[in-house]
């Protein structure tokens, strides 16, 4: 019997496949395609203290091998999430990761406090949303701010804290170290890369918000490199993401140092992307006679 279970900061996941925040809502829609028990965890749509309507449309543009989005953290607010969405999610065996974003340190602290009193299993701190000025990107690109905010959140959080890092930095290792020193229980990366696309006929940006977050298959090599660099600098577990569409992609991230993976944009291509990634990981384990998925982690042969 192959072991797919992984342990992230004391939380046991049935398998290393996590639905990435912002691509999976609160699970309801994909729950119409398959049983959410298939997943290791779901990182829910980014939550803010108060409800947000987000940015004007168009909010999505396809570019070669990827997409740009500028949703801008549209969400019902943390309290509505706890009341209306969390009970549904908790009917499943997959773990629930509450992704949260704020515009001030205090926003994050208050959310960490509120969510710690709920049934969520972990907190994922979005300090890297490129789409709203108040979405934390200002916090996520400076090592000393990452350290401060992580340390602050840890005082209020009674659940394991994952710090989600932005790739829009010069040295990802430095950011990972700052999060770890601040007390992060795990880190996840990469959030989207800041991008832009222009309609050459009208000469107007395709996104109403001009710029947006770039994700999808095209970003994978950047993300694998960043997971690898971060793993060389920190001891805390890493959750890797960025363009994963197959089990082979997931395995590549795990070899680079990720203890678990998140699947995002691929859900739009194929609603069964997450269970398919899980199957693909198992196929790899079969091929190489691997009994425990954890044995793949951090095994780059240089």
């Amino acid at each position: 019997m192959k072991n797919l279970k992984v342990n992230i900061a004391g939380v046991e996941l049935n398998n290393p496949v996590i639905a990435a925040s912002g691509t999976f809502g609160f699970g309801r829609e994909y729950g119409e395609f398959y049983n959410l028990d298939e997943l290791g965890a779901i990182s829910v749509k980014g939550l803010t203290l108060n409800p947000r309507e987000g940015n004007p449309p168009p909010r999505i543009a396809e570019t070669y091998g990827g997409i740009l989005n500028s949703v801008g953290l549209q969400n019902p607010g943390v309290k509505a999430f706890i009341t209306y969405e969390l009970p549904e999610l908790k009917k499943h065996s997959c773990k629930v990761i509450a992704n949260m974003a704020g515009s001030t340190f205090e926003d994050y602290y208050e959310m960490a406090e509120i969510l710690s009193d709920s049934d969520v299993d972990m907190l994922e701190v979005n300090i890297s949303c490129p789409n709203v000025r108040s979405g934390g990107v200002a916090f996520g690109t400076n090592a000393s701010t990452i350290y401060e905010i992580t340390k602050g959140i840890k005082k209020y959080a009674k659940k394991p804290v994952i710090i989600k890092l932005s790739p829009n930095v010069t040295d990802i290792g430095e950011m990972a170290v700052a999060a770890e020193q601040g007390g992060a229980d795990a880190i996840s990366l990469i959030n989207t890369l800041l991008g832009m696309a222009i309609d050459i006929n009208s000469r107007k940006p395709i996104l109403a918000n001009v710029k947006g977050g770039f994700s999808g298959p095209a970003v994978k090599p950047v993300a694998v490199r960043m997971v690898y660099e971060a793993k060389n600098k920190v001891k805390v577990p890493i959750i890797g993401m960025g363009g994963i569409t197959t089990g082979d992609d997931a395995v590549e991230f795990m070899i680079a140092g990720a203890s678990a993976v998140m699947v995002g944009t691929a859900n739009f291509m194929n609603p069964y992307a997450c269970p398919d990634v899980k199957k693909g990981i198992l196929a790899y384990m079969d091929k190489y006679n691997i009994e425990d998925v954890n044995s793949i982690v951090n095994t780059v042969q240089l």
């Binding site: 004007p56 999505i60 739009f268």
Partner: protein
Amino acid sequence: MSLDTYICKILSHKEIAPNVFDVTVKAPEIAAAAQPGQFLHVKCGDEIAMPLRRPISICSAGSGCVRFIYQVKGKGTEGLTKENDSLDILGPLGHGFVIDNETYKKPAVIGGGIGAYPLLYLTQKLKNAKVFMGFRTKELVTLETDFNMCAKEVKIATDDGSYGYHGFSIELLEETLKAGEADIIYCCGPKPMLKAVKDMAEKYNVKCQVSLEERMGCGIGACLTCSCETKTEGTWKYKRVCKNGPVFWSDEVVL
């Protein structure tokens, strides 16, 4: 589970006007569930290069088959024109038109350009529909015969007067509204047309449904990218075109 993707065999695929293609696929599950106004989310080629599916309205459905018509607009729809045996389709998706032949005895159906296509299936399900279609020019006039088979009356307008009425189809609609000959309007077309029809419906105090279009991601309501502005009782909010729509009551949406 209730939603799924299907590999659908292409039964016919032909160009019916310049850059406009008419496709029929074998899709028993989709055909059985499809409602007028719903759409299909179609994979258009290499999914790594083009990760997003393209939302395309259902033109008609029945006997285990689904028909849709698309215009080549960019790389995705260009990919669709390639020789394929089958297509990967997710659907049917969204909320379609409200059909109530008891309450509304005099439906008016108005479409502009490629917005005409989802209205065929609707007209097939309505009783005594008056249909108004607008196209830019004669060579783009399509589906006239199909509409004639199910509508009470069909009027075609062209912007340049090369076929039918010279002008906009909305002018034809207004004559009908003035005469009190419509008690509900169904509309699909470019945004300026939707807005003009919405305003006209308000002017003549007739209920109106509009089918919206927006750049889409997942197509099932999870990613929140295809938002449209709505207003109820003075408060506005974004709704999802793919899930709450694509068809809305015109007095609910801000156009």
